[in-house]
Amino acid sequence: MTPGIIVCSETDEGAFELLTKGRELSEEFKMELSALVLGKRNDKEIQCYFEYGPGRLILIPNVGIENLDAETYASVLFEVTKEEGPNILLVRSSRLGKEVAGRAAQKLQAGCVTDAIGLTTKGPDLVIDRYALGGNTISSEIIKTTKKVISIMPRTFEAERAPVEGKVERMELKIPPRRVRLVEQRKKTSESVNIESAETVVCVGKGVSNKEDLAMLNELCRALKGELGCTRALSSDYHWISEDRMVGISGKRCKPRLNVSIGISGQIQHTVGIMSSKLIVAINKDKEAPIFKIADYGIVGDLYDVVPRLTQKIKALET
């Protein structure tokens, strides 16, 4: 394989996001842009990839993502990039992408940055931004090795089309059988919410004292035409709200026009997930709660007093 930028994601839309950014880097650094596609694909699927501008598609039809564990997935990435010369490997920072990033980097003796939230070029350097110190800071980092592995948070870049006529290269890879055997896969029962693309998000935290009280918050959500989100405690610890609504460093990152944070103290592990909101409103009875420091508007008050009145007021506006 020739040196270049190689994009790999276990979902097509993930690959399209990365290809969109990859095009820019490819021009800047004069490196060829390729997409690595695993498993059998038909012509139409292949054409879809070329809509997003890779000069080359590396197809490995005999290896599907379902055949791979972290170890064997890393060996695929290694085989594709092992030849001498610079490579920038861009993978999606999904859980699968993130685990393989570290292992592939170790195989390649490459520097690796995971969970990137931004990529910029500065002269000959590629500067990678990621949250550090539990979300308190953003660390801007450069990888000094010629092979670089970067995992990028989903939806960091928006996919934009730029069709090209690229070439397809097929590879046959011999991959040893995975040592971590898959016994069963259970799809999570999800309400298929997409909180990451919601225009309005109402986030709730431990200030809510009973599960039954969520009805009151759902009503506010409906009045605001928004989606309900929550802190880790309410989903992982209490199991009141499904995990696909969990917002924060280990959950979803949302970018709404309006975020309303209710009964949330404002710990950084949660707030990194709402930082990109255009407007943040906080409702909390503790005046000293850190959430007020990142709020545009806030009410110091008991959510049980404030929320019903707020809902009523917003409903009244509509009529």
Binding site: G134, R181, K188
Partner: protein, 262 residues
């Protein structure tokens, strides 16, 4: 007997970080240090395995001299021994160098059956350590484990990969990373923490592990940190207090003017 190694990272108390107003740099000096929450999940799981199957549990950590105190909590939670690598040259090591240091220490206390790490460290959450260790040890890895059981020499785990849960099996020795859902770490009472100092504590330097100072630390790191500052926040900070009806009216009025109400 099974040998389970829990790798833990000592971090500053992230809740207490202050940000300098002018430079937006974090102030880290003088902050208390502790183990990350998910590292405690890893240790807790190791101790539960010991309680169920009988095992020797070793805690392994690389960090500053304060580790000698920090690690007492891990011993009090049920680890049988602690192995810590304390060497000023490690300061500024990136994940590759830290993983290498851990592996050298693991080679000193092997054979092992299971190495447990948290899904990510509390401070940087890079999630690379488990993957890099597994690769260096040529071991299988199971990441994002929220349920783990052992039968004979086989680990069965339920792992969480966002849209799905996977049930997987692999033979030990292996490396597993755990998520916070796997258990609720026990709290060690103070008396137990004090007594923990009687348990074996191995303190190693890089030399003890056969590592040159030039192989670790920021100079050896392939990652160069250009800057590390708090994100710029330009929020309005208009806070209403007092009578509930009045504050709600003020808020709705403000949101209306912002065009935030669809």
């Amino acid at each position: 007997m099974l040998h389970v190694i829990a790798c833990m990272k000592q971090v500053v108390d992230l809740q207490q970080i202050r940000i300098k107003r002018d430079t937006r740099e974090p102030v880290l000096e003088g902050l208390p240090v502790l183990f990350g929450d998910m590292d405690k999940n890893a240790l807790e799981e190791a101790v539960r395995i010991k309680e169920k199957h009988g095992a020797k549990v070793s805690v392994l950590s690389v960090g500053s001299a304060k580790l000698k105190d920090t690690v007492l909590e891990a011993l009090a939670m049920g680890a049988d021994e602690a192995c810590i690598v304390v060497d000023p040259a490690c300061e500024g090591s990136d994940t590759a160098a830290s993983a290498m240091t851990l592996v050298k220490a693991i080679e000193k206390i092997r054979p092992y059956d299971l190495i447990l790490v948290g899904e990510g460290s509390a401070d940087n959450y890079s999630g690379q350590i488990g993957s890099r260790i597994a690769e260096m040890l040529n071991a299988p890895q199971i990441t994002y484990v929220r349920e783990l059981s052992i039968e004979d020499n086989t680990v069965t785990a339920v792992r969480d990969i966002e849209a799905a849960l996977e049930v997987v099996k692999a033979d030990m020795p292996l490396v597993a990373s755990v998520t916070s859902e796997i258990n609720k770490p026990r709290r060690a009472p103070l008396a137990q923490i004090l007594r923990a100092s009687r348990k074996p504590l191995n303190v190693w330097t890089l030399k003890d592990l056969g590592i040159e100072a030039s192989q670790v630390g920021s100079a050896a790191s392939p990652i160069q940190v250009v800057s590390n500052v708090a994100p710029q926040q330009e929020r309005k900070g208009v806070i209403f207090e007092g009578d509930v009806d009045a504050t709600v009216a003020e808020l709705v009025d403000a949101l209306g003017k912002e065009g935030a109400l669809l």
